[in-house]
Subunit: 190 residues, 2 copies
Amino acid sequence: MRELEERIIKDGRSIGSGIVKVDGFLNHQLDTGLIMRMGEEFARLFAGSGANKIFTVESSGIAIALAAAVSMGDLPVVYAKKSVPSTMSEFYSTAVHSFTKNVDNTVIVSRSFIGSGDRLLIIDDFLATGSAGLGLVDLARQAGAEIVGFGAAIEKTEQGGRKALEDLGIEVRSLAVIASIEDGNIIFNH
Amino acid sequence: MRELEERIIKDGRSIGSGIVKVDGFLNHQLDTGLIMRMGEEFARLFAGSGANKIFTVESSGIAIALAAAVSMGDLPVVYAKKSVPSTMSEFYSTAVHSFTKNVDNTVIVSRSFIGSGDRLLIIDDFLATGSAGLGLVDLARQAGAEIVGFGAAIEKTEQGGRKALEDLGIEVRSLAVIASIEDGNIIFNH
């Protein structure tokens, strides 16, 4: 998605360790128009998926998942949570390693909201090592749901997440694919 | 907003201690169509506010803030965070007491995204004691931003949050106002 690539080059900042900071438009401040157009692009990429629900994880997946859901005919969105609400008793849980914080987090989803009848399109902001994505896949499989695709806003292919998901038979599509970062310059794959 | 009230009655669950669970459509699973119509209603209520940016807090504020931003002409959204990213150095911070979890949390926002030129419309899912709302107000004031209104999806008036905000001169509008919960029955104010 050219608009997203151009925005990453303009406002994204490479801050070492392969991390690109996009908090000016994607995960702290949101460029609402861009987010909604990203949703349209996800809808185009997964038009034939037969998804009945979008599945993501708080917090940075929520906005793009909602945008995709709007463009796919107001599908429901379910977002996995990083802490267990005091009001929730029945849930699936899995461990996710955070690449930027270097800690393991537990991620959960209520048993009420995903199940064996569901065809889930998983959407997340980043696909790097695939840890968050594989966590969502694990939750979906615990629930007996089918996974019809995985959409990432920004992918860093060399970190292995795409391969890990494709090895599980999951179709992966990303809006912007970063091939490498050299001397602070971001190189995209098309 | 009648649609939201009817949905709270249909799918919300009073689970004691004045807590109404709305995770089936508002803060774990999202009813995308309802969320976008809530955004339209916020836009109508704050049409004359002159807001240039929507300010909320992760995670449950993000979807309705984005929906309001879309209906107000693709305004930017900034969401405060409950943990400090390893990649962020300059931020405002404040303490917020969580009513449901009975703990104090630190909430932060980057100094890059709100400032003295901003006219912020604050949006959040719940207004009860006002703790989260007052935390956002404190962050906005540290940044020197003007607050042009406070919009809540669901307000529980008797818990004092509305009065605390109005005492600071802030206009408060809510989409559904719960007057009381009696024997599990939810009574609305209109």
